[in-house]
């Protein structure tokens, strides 16, 4: 149960970074940290004591496998996370080009 709490603390670090920081790059880093924590939580729920990786072998019989279903879900989630991160970075670079700053409090006036 302590290990779930540690994973939750990692998520709270990301949440704090998103809520408090004013730099856009820092907010993107917070989103990445929260995403890591969610992926890790899925895999922690799937772990089984003294488990083996879910890959069958032709020689030996493997009985005690971990749950392969959350691993399959997280595998797609990691690649989607990379794609959305690049989209956020592209938007941040456009904002820097237009306003000359990454600080979200200075981006006030709606130009065009």
């Amino acid at each position: 149960m302590i290990i779930y709490l540690l994973c939750l603390m990692l998520f709270c670090c990301g949440l704090y970074c998103i809520l408090v920081k004013r730099n856009i790059i820092k907010i993107i880093l917070g989103i990445i940290i929260a995403e890591y924590a969610v992926n890790l939580f899925f895999i922690l729920v799937a772990y089984r004591m003294e488990g083996r990786a879910p890959i069958l072998s032709s020689e030996v019989e493997i009985v005690n496998m971990v749950d392969p279903l959350p691993q399959a879900l997280v595998l797609t989630s990691i690649v989607i996370g990379l794609a959305t991160t690049t989209l956020l970075v592209a938007i941040a670079m456009r904002i820097y080009e237009k306003y000359g700053t990454f600080d979200i409090t200075k981006i006030k006036e709606l130009k065009g």
Binding site: S58, L75, I78, V79, A90, M93, Y96, G100
Partner: protein, 150 residues
């Protein structure tokens, strides 16, 4: 050294890259093709294939990398991956339902086994690799006004 090779990083990086970039590409293809019998699969293999071209582009500059893999080829590969994956899914309708495993399963633990799974791996690796490399060149070749002055 010729004129067009002046761009990019120093000589040490270029020589090391010339030796290793082929091995990285080969490792990506290995990960894709053995995705159904060992750890790996289409996602990881596709990103490794994209990273080999990223490595080439960081070391040698954009001209050499885009000569090896032009933009038309990248968009062709990405469209091919998406259409191949969708057509594999649609062919299953002739046998019954979406994503039917219509090829024979073969003998387990061999390279040619598991029906449609290796073909889906190849389609996804083409799609992921070409898409991420397209994002990379779009972000790297983007030149802003304040960078032109330097």
């Amino acid at each position: 050294m010729s004129k067009e090779h002046d761009a990019g990083m120093s000589l040490i990086v270029k020589v090391i890259t010339r030796f290793t970039v082929g091995l990285i590409l080969l490792y990506g293809i290995y990960i894709v093709l053995h995705g159904h019998i060992s750890p790996g699969g289409g996602f990881a293999g596709g990103v490794i294939i994209a990273l080999s071209f990223v490595n080439l582009m960081l070391a040698y500059g954009k001209d050499v990398a885009l000569k090896k893999l032009p933009r038309k080829t990248i968009s062709f590969f990405e469209s091919t991956g998406a259409l191949l994956f969708l057509s594999i899914a649609l062919i299953g309708f002739f046998g019954g339902y979406f994503f039917l495993n219509f090829i024979s399963k073969g003998e387990p633990f061999r390279l040619f086994s598991a029906g449609i799974v290796p073909f889906c791996n190849i389609a996804i690796s083409l799609k992921v690799g070409a898409g991420l490399f397209a994002i990379f060149i779009a972000l790297v070749l983007l030149k802003f006004d304040w960078e032109k002055k330097e």
